[in-house]
């Protein structure tokens, strides 16, 4: 890899890491187009590199979130079952698709994801639970300390089957497209399961490492992980994710979400154009 490509890749990785840690995503949605469109790397290799970047973001950000008590570990274990099954299926199917087909799938998926991203509003913290049964779903109840509110927030997880189904789809998207799937999981957990957005982002972030690793093994076995490219991108992502944690505390999430949605649509249009050329 020549010097200017290394610099572009490292800077792209930093950008993906910043965006990934702010939104609770893996950053794959930036890395894949960067590799395919700018560095002209075939999409299968780009997806494999991106999956490793997702693991790096998840591990770096997750280590901090789990210590702060933001991650709902019981919810993680349940949703990981669904998301890993989806990821294995996605990774296996991807091997039988042509790069152009994969690029079109990516463009359509990113366009569809941009809509909930743009429309999702700031989440109002749900009221504290008023029932205390000992059922399975009740055991997924979570709590964390919110420094912005100055008190502990308690929440119940609603519509678990919907959250599991969406996690399965997110896992499949991960295996096919090299994204973490957080861009689907965070809105789903927030809008359908009524998990507060901070806990949803932390829980999603924690899961995407396992989601990505399930399909990354498949790509690694096929020899589609490029060592120098992957190492450079991962180092950029790691640096960016540390930087992003600083921004995340100060930024207005509603504005950032809309800006990000526009960025996603531009990426999708570019990728579709590339596929049909």
């Amino acid at each position: 890899m020549i010097a200017h490509q290394t610099i572009v890749l490292f800077l792209g990785g930093i950008g993906a890491g910043v965006i990934g840690s702010i939104f609770g995503l893996g950053g794959g949605i930036i890395i894949v187009p960067l590799l395919v469109l700018i560095l002209k790397i075939p999409i299968h290799y780009a997806v494999a590199t991106s999956l490793l970047c997702v693991i790096a973001t998840s591990s770096a950000v997750g280590s901090r979130n789990v210590q702060r008590g933001m991650t709902n570990l019981r919810l993680v274990s349940v949703l990981e079952i669904a998301t890993v099954i989806g990821a294995i299926c996605g990774g296996a199917i991807a091997g039988y698709l042509h790069p152009q087909q994969l690029e079109i799938v990516f463009a359509v998926a990113v366009s569809l994801l941009a809509i909930p991203m743009a429309l999702s509003r700031e989440v109002v913290m749900p009221a504290p639970p008023d029932h205390h049964d000992g059922g399975f779903v009740a055991r997924l109840r979570g709590a964390y300390y919110d420094p912005a509110l100055g008190h502990e927030v308690h929440y119940d997880v609603e519509r678990l089957p919907v959250a599991m189904a969406i996690s399965g789809v997110a896992g499949m998207a991960s295996g096919l497209l090299g994204i973490g799937g957080g861009v689907i999981k965070v809105p789903a957990l927030t809008l359908y399961s009524r998990v507060p957005v901070k806990a949803a982002a932390a829980t999603s972030n924690f899961m995407i490492g396992v989601t990505a690793v399930a399909s990354a093994f498949v790509y690694y076995g096929r020899g589609e992980v490029l060592p120098v490219v992957t190492a450079t991108a991962v180092l950029g992502v790691f640096a960016g994710s540390r930087l992003g944690l600083v921004f995340a505390e100060r930024a207005h999430s509603s504005v950032l979400r809309k800006v990000f949605a526009v960025l996603m649509l531009v990426i999708a249009a570019h990728m579709a154009w590339q596929a049909m050329r």
């Binding site: 901090r64 274990s77 091997g95 399975f136 990354a216 991962v234 180092l235």
Partner: protein, 111 residues
């Protein structure tokens, strides 16, 4: 040690080891570019042997493997801690996640 600390340490350690290997591997590659085709991905004994001889390719491949193993190690820690808390339901669910990851690893190894 709480389960939060254990998982946090595992994740941090994985990132630290893989990033260190990546930095050294990239710098060594910049000084003396190497042919990556000579090392088959995933051939661990060969990779370890090459690592001892300071091969940049081996450093990068092992860095990638460490990164791949990190989330799996985190799931193992989750099983262990749920089990220690006598939370059999969630320990069993976490074992299910681990078995699914083994399935994906097997598919990867056969590819």
């Amino acid at each position: 040690m709480t389960r939060r600390n254990l998982m946090s340490i595992i994740l941090r350690l994985g990132v630290l080891v893989s990033c260190s290997l990546f930095i050294v591997g990239i710098l060594a590659d910049a000084v003396d570019p190497i042919a990556f085709g000579t090392i088959k991905p995933g051939h661990i004994p060969l990779l370890l042997q090459a690592l001892i001889h300071g091969s940049p390719a081996a450093m990068l491949h092992i860095g990638i493997l460490v990164l791949l193993i990190t989330p799996v190690a985190r799931v193992v820690a989750m099983v262990w801690t749920f089990a220690r808390e006598r939370d059999s339901t969630f320990a069993t669910i976490s074992i299910g996640v681990l078995l699914l990851l083994i399935v994906s690893f097997t598919i990867g190894a056969m590819a």
